[in-house]
């Protein structure tokens, strides 16, 4: 495998609220490779979106990166630690959009309603390359065609509210790719979309990845989308990575009780009609009241009293880069 383009090491991002400290991301580590998709999956409050925002250095106050490294191999080949860069400095602004593109969940609120699609695209293009307005407009039309927008020369003058949800999300993808980044972060890119539109957007992202050897971080709560798109998976729960590995191992040989329970509780079109679902007892704790020890222990069917509620489990590695943080596996595995 090629060199990783992005390496995250022990990333911790905390939010310092009046009521206490929320450890939104607590020691995330993963590698991202060109041409591959890393899926980050988990339920609300697991820290998947804060991880993405940390990489882009757009964590809002009172949040702050308190530890770890985010090593990006830049276009020049030089490796920089994004954590050490000022979040609003010129280097970071060049990297955001220029080297790491971003697609958000809600295309309606991330596109401006006051400017046409073209104005926004041309701005994004000229921010990162010295093209004339005319050349940038031609480039914008090319980009719209690339993301599969019919009649791009006409649609470039449309406002975002004149477009359907699917077309808006395509414009978002075009915007994210305007400066030809090597890394694309897609944070719940299809959550607000209908299922047939979701299929179109997932297919678009997969095609662009093939054509441009993009490294993609796909953040979602939907295990179906992960199964469909990801090469490697990180499963998070309450700010901690509980399990990570190749997609097939995560789905067919999950080791962490949370991953196992989560997979059993997903409704499926393949199920027998009216089949009861396996459940995980209780609900996700409030982030300010994170349980001691393993954060999953109060809901875990395999919890060991005195152990799981006391000690934070360390990550244990298995073959094939399959890693889990669970006391069931603390014995060293050869």
């Amino acid at each position: 495998m090629a060199e990783p383009i992005l390496q995250v090491r022990g990333l911790s991002t905390y939010f310092f609220a009046d009521e206490g400290v929320v450890r939104a991301v607590d020691g995330a580590s993963f590698d991202l490779y060109p041409g591959r998709t890393l899926g980050i999956v988990g339920e609300s409050g697991c820290g998947k979106s804060v991880t993405a925002r940390s990489i882009l250095r757009i964590v809002e106050r009172p949040g702050r990166i308190v530890g770890g490294e985010i090593l990006l191999r830049r276009h020049s080949g030089q490796v920089v630690d994004l954590v050490t860069l000022p979040s609003d400095g010129s280097a970071m602004r060049q990297i955001r959009g220029g080297e790491i593109g971003l697609v958000f969940q809600e295309p309606m609120s991330s596109l401006s309603a006051f400017h046409t699609v073209g104005v926004q695209l041309i701005e994004a293009i000229r921010l990162h390359s010295p093209l004339s307005k005319k050349a940038a407009r031609a480039r914008a039309i090319e980009l719209l065609a690339l993301v599969g927008i019919p009649r791009p020369a006409h649609r470039i003058d449309a406002y975002s509210f004149e477009l359907s949800g699917g077309l808006r999300q395509r414009v978002m993808v075009a915007l994210a790719l305007a400066a030809e980044p090597h890394v694309l972060i897609a944070d719940e890119p299809t959550t607000a979309l209908d299922v047939t539109t979701q299929a179109q957007i997932l297919e678009l992202i997969a095609r662009l990845q093939r054509e441009r050897d993009l490294a993609v971080i796909l953040i979602t709560h939907d295990m179906g989308v992960i199964a469909e798109m990801a090469d490697d998976v990180v499963v998070m729960y309450l700010g901690r990575e509980v399990e990570k590995g190749p997609v097939d191992a995560i789905f067919h040989a999950p080791r962490h009780p949370y991953t196992q329970s989560l997979l059993r509780s997903i409704p499926s079109v393949l199920a027998e009609p009216r089949a009861r679902l396996a459940t995980i007892s209780g609900s996700i704790p409030h982030p300010l009241a994170r349980p001691a020890g393993c954060p999953f222990h109060p809901r875990c069917p395999d919890a060991m009293p005195g152990r799981c509620d006391a000690d934070v489990p360390v990550e244990v590695s298995f073959a094939d880069n399959h890693v889990t943080a669970c006391h069931l596996y603390t014995e060293p595995v050869a």
């Binding site: 609300s44 297919e203 469909e228 990801a230 789905f251 509780s265 089949a275 459940t279």
Partner: protein, 343 residues
């Protein structure tokens, strides 16, 4: 799977239409109609769950709002069986006429965070419909509320707490308890689990199934998520651009769909198994605009099987097997792909 059979349906909808006028200009002249619901018919038997599925703008929510008479339908009949077994046309009733029927139809909402009054305790929220319907005795009401909490598996100790103290799943349980308070004949559940996390969603799906078995409830389940629909429904009706395009018993609809839209919808659902990366049917274009739907079959511009005839002729919803109806001119000749069951 047991399909409940009772001769008389709890609800029978016939030729339901809801058109919203498009007004333009200073005088607000009507320049067009959005045909949100366009000639929809179905019935639900006692103890049955019928799911209305489809994508945004297909008319599923408008249909359910007409049935609850949150809005007045443009035309059609909504025959609802009252406690004496008589069928009453809800579509034509005024406010006063509707009042005795309101208690018979209850609703479970999508968003458990905004559907509960934050200033009321759980006891007050669940007890309110009882009070409104005339249960004045405080002791009697408290007993009933405690029973309802037990039904939805919440501890009695929660009675005097306020909604903010509860998680999304717990709030949805409270919403269900309130809906059950008056022993309704029909429960309309509009996306009741789509705002919940997966691990909590499963608990609520199971609870709804258990309560149905226990109390003989009848559900109209409105949802966009076909996976959830598979787990709750006896029968499914698929809507597209204001019309039902296919309706069938759940298993049949999933394994042998007869409408090309149902086929595409099923193939678009991501399956949580990387070894089954599906060969998807990716539809071109967008969902039809109900203010300006295509002529003929509304689905024809996106349908890979469409012929010249589909552009002009409106297909009727026709029964092709008992309980399985489809509105497609080519239904008999096409062999479409469903999803395998039980694997």
């Amino acid at each position: 799977m047991t399909t409940p059979v009772l001769e008389v349906p709890v609800l029978e909808v016939r030729g339901l239409r809801k058109h919203f006028p498009i007004r333009q200009g200073l005088l607000g002249r009507v320049t067009g109609q959005i045909r949100a619901v366009d000639d929809v018919s179905f019935s639900i038997a006692h103890g049955e769950t019928l799911s209305l599925v489809g994508e945004s703008g297909c008319g599923k929510t408008t249909t359910s709002r007409c049935i609850l008479r949150a809005i007045a339908p443009t035309s059609g009949k909504i025959l609802f069986r009252d406690e004496h077994g008589d069928a009453i046309d809800v579509a034509g009733l005024d406010r006063k006429g509707l009042r005795p029927l309101r208690r018979r139809m209850q609703m479970i909402f999508q968003d458990p965070f905004s559907s509960l009054n934050p200033r009321m305790t759980i006891a007050e929220i669940i007890g309110e419909p009882l009070l409104v319907q005339g249960m004045r005795d405080t002791r009697e009401r408290e007993t009933r509320v405690a029973d309802l909490l037990r039904l939805v598996r919440l501890p009695a100790a929660y009675l005097n707490r306020f909604p903010h103290a509860f998680s999304g799943g717990q709030r949805q349980r409270i919403g269900i308890a309130r809906a059950l308070a008056l022993n309704p004949s029909l429960i309309v559940a509009d996306e009741p689990v789509s705002a919940l996390d997966v691990s909590v969603q499963a608990q609520i799906v199971n609870l709804m199934l258990d309560l149905q078995d226990q109390l003989g409830l009848t559900y109209l389940f409105v949802a966009h998520d076909l996976s959830v629909v598979k787990h709750v429904s006896h029968r499914v009706a698929v809507m597209y651009a204001g019309r039902i395009v296919e309706t069938a018993p759940t298993k049949q609809l999933f394994t042998s769909p007869k409408h090309p839209y149902t086929e595409a919808l099923l193939s678009a659902v991501p399956v949580p198994d990387p070894r089954r990366r599906a060969h998807r049917i990716v539809l071109e274009g967008d969902v039809a605009d109900p203010s300006n739907p295509p002529p003929g079959c509304h689905f024809h511009p996106r349908c890979k099987y469409a012929t010249e005839q589909c552009r002009t002729e409106v297909p009727a919803l026709t029964e092709i097997e008992p309980g399985h109806a489809v509105s497609c001119l080519r239904a008999a000749e096409l062999s479409l792909r469903g999803v395998a069951s039980g694997s």
